[in-house]
């Protein structure tokens, strides 16, 4: 397609610059060049700013000793930065995995309760959802941490049948000892994201056509059977994609562990920068860690999602 201006000057050099196709290519080339120039300029400034600081360039810092201990971990200050990051990655994974499981359990329970026969249970579930969903997650984490601090000391720990023991230092759960920062972060994330998942669960159950409920009732299924065999399996398909987003968001929110002194990878990164690790490289490592977590979770659950979807003609 050529513009009227192009027709008049056909054959001349000017015509080339009025051609939309040429302009499109040219515009993109200019944009890429501008981006590359900006990147080079920033890199130049960065190098000029960090030249006179030792240990600020390259990746050698990964092998330097950290100079600090990590609470609740078998880690000495003489061990290299590399190992500290690995401790952080494991802690992030531990909190995210348990948080996802608990949040799902809470979400399904509360979501189902919001549709129960009992007015009291419905209102209680609504209250939980509307309170938790509308406060910042950092506040939930800080509040949980502060509340756990008001528990008695370990010598006077609360006990529950000898299997569960909780104090302001640790939670002993069927023989497993969990430190309080971990408990605070994981419980808070489960409560917060559980309220979001509850809304997804409720929406998905309501999205199952009413005829399914009626048919199940007509077959003589009880309330629980109807839920277990008819509604939840179909709701699961509808609700899985938004739930995956909640899982991703929960994993990223483990980075708020710093607020309760939990040694997740972000708060260790923060401490490493304070202990003279180069900021840019440390943050790049953090970003790579989170991108790997995000991609793994999307991959696993999207495979599940694909297997679950109905195959249509």
């Amino acid at each position: 397609m050529s513009t009227p201006a192009g027709e008049r000057t056909r054959g001349s050099l000017a015509a080339v610059f009025f051609d939309v196709r040429v302009l499109r290519v040219l515009g993109q080339v200019v944009a890429i060049l501008a981006l590359v120039t900006l990147a080079l300029y920033l890199q130049d400034n960065y190098q000029a700013n960090t030249r006179d600081r030792s240990g600020q360039s390259g990746w050698g810092f990964l092998d330097e000793p950290t100079g600090f201990n990590i609470a609740y971990a078998d880690f000495r200050s003489t061990q290299p930065v590399r190992d500290a990051i690995w401790v952080g990655v494991r802690n992030t994974a531990a909190s995210a995995a348990v948080g996802i499981a608990l949040a799902t359990a809470i979400g399904v329970t509360v979501g189902v309760l919001r549709l129960s026969h009992s007015w009291v249970a419905r209102k209680a579930a609504t209250l939980y959802v509307e309170v938790l969903r509308n406060v910042p997650v950092l506040l939930v984490i800080l509040f949980t941490g502060a509340w756990l601090q008001t528990l008695p000391r370990s010598t006077e720990a609360y006990e529950l049948g000898g299997l569960i023991e909780i104090s302001n230092r640790e939670l002993v759960f069927f023989g497993t000892t969990l430190n309080i920062p971990y408990v605070a972060l994981t419980a808070a994330l489960a409560l917060y994201h559980g309220s979001h998942i509850a809304e997804i669960v409720r929406g998905s159950i309501q999205a199952v056509p009413l005829g399914q409920t009626e048919a199940a009732t007509a077959l003589g299924l009880s309330d629980l059977q109807r839920l277990r065999f008819v509604l939840l399996p179909q709701a699961f398909r509808i609700g899985l994609p938004p739930t995956i987003n909640q899982f991703l968001s929960l994993t990223k929110n483990t980075s708020l562990g710093i607020a309760v002194a939990y040694s997740d990878v972000s708060s260790l990164g923060f401490r490493l920068i304070g202990a003279r690790s180069p900021a840019l490289q440390t943050i790049i490592v953090l970003m790579i860690v989170y991108l790997v977590f995000s991609l793994t979770i999307s991959l696993v659950f999207n495979l599940l999602n694909r297997r679950l979807q109905l195959v249509e003609r």
Binding site: H117, L256, L280
Partner: protein
């Protein structure tokens, strides 16, 4: 004659969204009035499982309510809130300059009152011109819509030690009522609402940016929280729309750049990006140039972060526009930019209003993360005030956090209710 009814310019894209569709006459059987006894049977003890749930949750709710009342009325010392209320609200903003904040508040309240009333009157007028009945909301509707914010305001004012803040707040209420009264009489000015919002926000920011500790980079408390939220929304929204258009563009280089940007930002937590803004961005500036203040760097990060999420929301809307809309617009001879501006974007944005408000709410809640890199916004004040000498070692964290939670909750809950209301009024998500 087939066509548009007289006096009803149906082609106006703004109007298409604002006038609710004519409701169908209800076709339900007449509602059965339950006696209290029947209601209890139907809603509390309908089935055996339902009865168990009622008893269990009845006890649970009673226990939680008892603990909550005990916490609020008996066990907690709210003195820390009373003594630090100004810190919670405006951080270290100097007392002598507080008039700036009240002036800015009155300006915004006045503009909001005037233009909300003018817009409502305008919509009413158009609906009446189309021959529809209009229900005018009364003051009770206002109370019902904004009760969380009003309740939080009452709690706030109950913690003040002098009458001045209460009187100044009441003056704000009078301004609101007066400007609403004026606005109802000027429906024609409704079309300037966006311009007024822009001018109002900029003017308010200029008034509030005072000398010394009143400088904008030193703001704190709820004031900072609201500033970051409003500035963040107004900057990240246009950027997000542009990025979404870039992602749907037919230019491969542009598409690749926007996809890389969106996916990179969305894969990383905001905390890591805030660290980046705090530590690394200053290193990108040449020695000869003073890097921007810490708050500006945090704002850059917040805007870039939210824009990536908003772009994905807008993309959802863009994808929901049928091809025929593009083709029809092109057939009318519109230029590509006008196809987007006049036909596609208005429909796409309208379709994603609920998701967009959800994103704004999450920005409001995300401002708390500024506490982690050392800004004294509302949550940081709640965390810090307990280590003041007179309150040290009294475990008042739960008290200050509960107070901050009330304020965050009131704002967020009101926004989410308003979004649901808008959703219903625009008929989004209803299958027809």
């Amino acid at each position: 004659m087939v066509g548009i009814p007289a006096g009803f310019p149906a082609a106006d894209p703004e109007l298409a969204g604002l006038v609710p569709p004519e409701p169908e006459p209800p076709r339900f059987p007449p509602e059965a009035r339950l006696t209290p006894r029947q209601w209890v049977r139907a809603n509390l003890f309908a089935t055996r499982a339902g009865s168990v749930l009622t008893v269990v949750f009845g006890l649970l709710v009673a226990y939680v309510a008892y603990r909550l009342l005990w916490f609020v009325l008996v066990s907690s010392n709210w003195e820390i809130i009373r003594r630090n209320l100004r810190l919670f609200m405006v951080g270290r903003y100097p007392v002598d300059e507080l008039w700036r904040l009240w002036t800015a508040l009155y300006l915004l309240v006045g503009l909001a009152g005037f233009f909300s009333a003018a817009t409502a009157a305008n919509v009413e007028q158009l609906a009446r011109a189309a021959g529809r009945d209009v229900e005018r909301p009364g003051p009770v509707d206002g109370l019902r819509r904004y009760w969380p914010v009003l309740a939080a305001l009452v709690v706030l004012l109950s913690q003040t030690r002098t009458w001045t803040p209460t009187l100044l707040t009441l003056a704000g209420g009078v301004i609101l009522l007066a400007t609403r009264w004026l606005g109802r009489r000027a429906p024609g000015l409704a079309r300037f609402a966006w311009l007024a919002a822009l001018v109002g926000v900029v003017a308010a920011a200029l008034v509030m940016d005072g000398p010394g500790d009143a400088e904008w980079s030193k703001w704190g408390g709820l004031h900072l929280t609201i500033f970051v939220t409003v500035a963040g929304i107004s900057l990240s929204f246009p950027l997000g729309v542009l990025v979404a258009l870039g992602r749907r563009s037919s230019l491969p280089a542009l598409r690749a750049m926007t996809v890389a940007y969106i996916e990179l930002i969305r894969g990383v937590p905001l905390v890591a990006l805030l660290f980046f803004g705090h530590y690394v961005i200053p290193l990108f500036f040449p020695n000869t140039v003073e890097p921007p203040p810490a708050l500006a760097r945090a704002m850059i990060v917040v805007v870039l972060f939210e824009a990536a999420y908003i772009a994905e929301v807008v993309r959802g809307g863009l994808q929901s526009i049928p091809r025929g809309q593009y083709e029809a617009a092109q057939a009318l001879g519109l230029r590509p930019w006008n196809v987007t501006r006049l036909i596609v974007l208005p429909q796409a944005l309208r379709a994603v209003i609920p998701a967009m408000v959800g994103q704004f709410i999450s920005l409001y809640k995300d401002t708390t993360l500024l506490a982690i890199i050392g800004f004294t916004e509302l949550l940081e004040v709640a965390e810090n005030s307990v280590s003041q000498p007179s309150f040290l070692g009294q475990r008042l964290h739960t008290v200050t956090f509960a107070f901050a939670a009330l304020i965050y909750w009131a704002g967020s809950y009101t926004m989410s209710r308003e979004s649901r209301r808008l959703e219903r009024r625009l008929g989004i998500g209803e299958r027809t």
